[in-house]
Amino acid sequence: MTAPGKAGRLGAALLDAAKAMLVAFGLFVVMVGLRTDVSSSGALLLRTRWMDVALLCAAVFVLRLAMALWVRPRLPAAGSALLGTGLTRAGLLFGPALLAVALVLPFIPGIGRYELDLGILVLTYVMLGWGLNIVVGLAGLLDLGYVAFYAVGAYSYALLAQYFGLSFWICLPLAGILAAFWGVLLGFPVLRLRGDYLAIVTLAFGEIIRIVLLNWVSLTGGPNGISGIPRPTFFGLPFSMSGGPGTFAGFFGLEPSPSHRVIFLYYLILGLALLTNWVAIRIRRQPIGRAWEALREDEIACRALGINITNTKLTAFALGAMFAGFAGAFFATRQAFISPESFTFIESAIILAIVVLGGLGSQIGIAVAAIVMIGGFELFRDLDEYRMLVFGAAMVVIMVARPRGLVGSRAPSVLLGERRRIDASLVGEGRG
């Protein structure tokens, strides 16, 4: 590059950064520069923070300049596509490796209670992501109220246990069935709606269910939620510290330890997540799974081929809801306490973000996205109130950098000869 060109580029970058700084000044001068505080008398007071505004503006200037001068020129045009294929290829090895680590995690030295709890949390989101992937990734139905079925599962278990004294192992399938039933009930009238309408209606359903849970105090305890939900037993053997013959520790002759239950919960959610994965992988190779994907690609063509669109969509919706129901029952038994606060829209949004960031339809991508998002969120726990801010910003940045998610290419469900790459740009995104 010649010197004048370089100088010109520098000049343009400087100008651009100055403009960005000006915008930043406009954004921050009021919202950051003037802080409102409520005084003891209830009146509003203003505090000025011009220094913070100046620092923020300077930061924007530097970042923008750095973007223009160093980051952008080095971004190879084909970089993202390369990463996609790399990840797909690595997925062949990476998937089993990840599974192996997950299987032995509780016994890796240095893994304590905290790490296992984090593992349980991540796996819950992995499971929810895989469940929602059936609806959004395969069938192309945009569901913004997925958390509603998670809530149905959790409350089903809590209420069945509370009122009828049913055990976790009976309630788990029931919670799934009830969630699927609600999926069918809510899905039936609205699944013929076009894309964004479906999105807003599912969001509305999610909110309706939450508001009902919040206000039906006599049944659900309202905002106080339900506490004292029975903890799971090892197929009838409770995890009790007494160590008596009827307990898990006593039966197997182990030293009673609180970590038994955590390890058991960890394997329980791992098992549930793997079940979700297994069903999703198997079903993709089934006629119904192919029909879902076909529906995502072109609904009209499906009709012309004699596929009953409503029923096909309903099965996807119900199956996705069922897995959310399982996860909900697990959540209830793990926490021993649930309240409507755990089932707000932001949960649906995060699960959907995991699915989209992972790459629609890609099992391994979703697992990685859940680990990155939820694990990363935990990693930044010292940021306190800035944590959600970073989380939201990360969502935007990842989406802008990789709109198709981590794994964009689609793996065929059946092959005649050898596998060829299906580019992400060809894969449909569904109208629903």
């Binding site: 069903v279 198997r282 079903i283 089934q286 006629p287 119904i288 192919r290 029909a291 994907e293 076909a294 690609e297 072109d298 009209i300 063509a301 499906c302 009709r303 012309a304 081929l305 004699g306 596929i307 009953n308 669109i309 689609r410 065929p412 469900s413 059946v414 092959l415 005649l416 000869g417 050898e418 596998r419 060829r420 299906i422 580019d423 060809l426 894969v427 449909g428």
Partner: protein, 278 residues
């Protein structure tokens, strides 16, 4: 197969008094025609004549305002298509292609053809459970479906592209794939919406041969299939059609073998100044 030959010559599709009104616009006005079993029938007419509307009524994408559309299948059963909607039309035995190709672009060619056999495969899965557990009944059904797909891939000269994404195929190949996909549903009547649009002369030739083979049942081991098509390319219409129905302004103005229709003065008047490739 013998049943089909016995009845050859009888009508497979009878359209009577078909009327379609959009608001105040009368798009199709009491049209009658028939498609003979084992024939290729072309529906032609100038732009805006109502061809596509008739086509969409037959294939269930519109519900006609009035009239009857009866499909008489090889086993003698009759389906009243005007009463059926959406997917039930395809189940009754009518398959179609689209003017602006509608493939499942992100799925492979083979997957496209398996989706076309969805109904049969879905039955074999035993409500999804048998297939989930990998029971043999489903495996056999899938193998059979793949064999049928391979037959059609061979017939449409797409065998080497079976594992490519449908959207990655060249235009002409996509048209052939759409026909193969429609045929995989095992239809009694194949409806094609401008199958030659955008094809080069050599591809058009191949298409003509393919359609004749479909009609005669020589394309694959499957039964002869009657064909109804809309086409603008008069060359191909006159070459392959056994029967031509001409529409203009929503009415039928002529019907008969290509030679008769070509010399019909109403037809000449309707087409005056356009479409003189023939």
């Amino acid at each position: 197969m013998s049943g089909a030959t016995e009845e050859a010559g009888s009508e497979i599709l009878r359209v009577e008094g078909l009327t379609m009104r959009f608001g105040g616009l009368l798009a199709v006005d009491a049209v009658d025609f028939a498609v003979q079993r084992g024939s290729i029938t072309a529906l032609i007419g100038p732009n805006g004549a109502g061809k596509t509307t008739v086509f969409n009524c037959i294939t269930g994408f519109y519900r006609p305002t009035g009239g009857r559309i009866r499909l008489r299948r090889a086993d003698g059963s009759v389906a009243e298509l005007q009463r059926l909607k959406d997917h039930s039309i395809a189940r009754a035995g009518v398959a179609r292609t689209f003017q602006n190709i509608r493939l499942f672009a992100g799925m492979t060619v083979l997957e496209n053809l398996l989706i076309a056999q969805h109904l049969k495969l879905q039955k074999a899965t035993g409500f999804g459970i048998g297939a989930m557990l990998g029971l043999s009944g489903y495996k056999a059904a899938e193998a059979e479906a793949i064999a049928k797909a391979v037959d059609w891939l061979r017939a449409t000269n797409l065998l080497d592209r079976a594992d490519d994404a449908a959207g990655a195929l060249p235009y002409g190949a996509q048209r052939r794939l759409e026909i193969a996909r429609a045929m995989c549903t095992g239809p009694a009547l194949l409806c094609l919406d401008e199958p030659a649009a955008g094809l080069n002369p050599r591809e058009s030739d191949d298409l003509a041969k393919l359609l004749a083979a479909i009609r005669d049942g020589t394309a694959t081991a499957s039964a002869p299939t009657s064909v109804l098509l809309i086409e603008h390319d008069m060359g191909i219409v006159m070459r392959i059609s056994d029967q031509v129905v001409v529409l203009d302004h929503g009415r039928k103005i002529a019907e008969g073998p290509p030679a008769t229709v070509r010399s019909d003065r109403h037809v000449i008047a309707a087409y005056l100044g356009e479409e003189e490739e023939a």
